[in-house]
């Protein structure tokens, strides 16, 4: 997947799952605030990434994912080789 494809797909998934308009997503926006994630729904973000890409996000790594760009980066760098 190209980075553009990842961004498009991730935005669509997040918009569907958390019911927030993808037009409000910006690479530097805070992902927790934009998606209104609390400590419980943050687990759904982890589950969504795991179920879609089979990529596990450990808690220590999750702390580093603050923006949408951080999430795209994480997925791009952990995608299994095609």
């Amino acid at each position: 997947m190209t980075r553009e494809e990842i961004i498009t797909q991730v935005n669509s998934l997040l918009s569907d799952e958390f019911e927030v308009d993808a037009a409000t997503f910006a690479p530097d926006a805070n992902i927790r605030e934009t998606l209104q994630l609390d400590s419980l729904s943050l687990v759904d973000l982890v589950a969504l990434v795991q179920q879609t890409y089979r990529i596990k996000i450990p808690v220590t790594e999750l702390r580093g994912i603050q923006t949408f760009a951080n999430l795209y980066d994480y997925i791009e760098s952990h995608l299994p080789a095609a």
């Binding site: 958390f18 019911e19 209104q36 609390d38 419980l40 729904s41 943050l42 687990v43 759904d44 982890v46 589950a47 795991q50 179920q51 089979r54 596990k56």
Partner: protein, 406 residues
Amino acid sequence: MEHRVVITGMGIWSCLGTTLDEVRDSLYTGKSGIAFSQEHKDAGFRSALCSTIAQPDLKPLVPRNLRQFMPEEAQYAYMSTRQALENAKLDIDYIAQHEVGLIFGNDSTAEATVNAIDKFRDFHDTAACGSGSIFQSMNSTVTMNLACLFKLKGINLTASAACASGSQAIGLGSLLIRNGLQECVVCGGAQEANMFSVAAFDGLQSFSVREDQPSQASRPFDRDRDGLVPGGGAATVILESYEHAVRRGAPILGEIISWGFSSNGDHISTPNVEDPARSLELCLKNGGVSPDEIGYINAHATSTKIGDAREAQAIARIFGDRRVPVTSTKSQTGHEMWMAGASELIYSMLMMKNDFIAGSLNFENPDDDTACINILPECQEVHFDMFLSNSFGFGGTNSTIIVKNL
């Protein structure tokens, strides 16, 4: 001091409709809510009959982060409880300032549990279950969700008593009000209607196999009955002390006169006669009610050979030759299980308030065991002011409630 317990609101989400008016009309016209499910058949069910229930759209009503905690049965219960609170004229401001309790009957969360465990096994990671799974898969899921959504501050309890759960919930709620421990309690029953919840039940060969005639499959007390049909949905009643209802100007629909209960202490699935009969007897005694005062009996009868036979004999033992009209609304709805005690109380209330008794569909011929009671096969326009509702469940749990018209 004992307090009188009155019903001030009702709400229903069932295969007979999703409003009280719709359900009243379905009862009156003898509509069947039962259908053949190809999904069940393809999955390997022996009997693919089930009730057809509208799926509520909660998206405009409950935010995503709260909806995430709600399995199917909690969604049904949310819809029935919204209606009941509105029906009782209990708004969010009043609830915020008063202690309103909550007791609901529920006895399974199969689909939520299956979904969570499937993800866990697939990904070998507990986080894959998602945030809602634990809250969806606990047996108290209905009460934990409703209490948070409606901001209820009184007792918060799930009653698990198999197919008597809804009735026991109403019995418990009425007891708390009668004793002055609560002034208002939201009571009801909820039943998930997905195939995971009843697959093992189908495995017991308990369901009717009359798949080519879905509307004729549930035939309580009839000679040719061959098993039950699983149903689902949710039903809510608002119970209050009479003083509380009068004080806030609530509509008063009926009065819970008494609750009776018993346990068979016997076989896990085969009922007997004497212990269900004790539940009826105790209910009459607790309310100081003579059998002559009962104008209608809403039977538990699910359309199984032994269950219907034993209940008929239990009713006959208590009511003798009085010929009180008896029907089973499960002939229209199938067996609504954890919800049934609450929904059938509402069905009976709708009949009592509208002067009719819905016919027991498909009752064509009694057998030697069921000929001892007066089963009405067709709808009758008749006035009555007091009814008795039976609910019996696996493990031999029995619950009976008597309600009076007000």
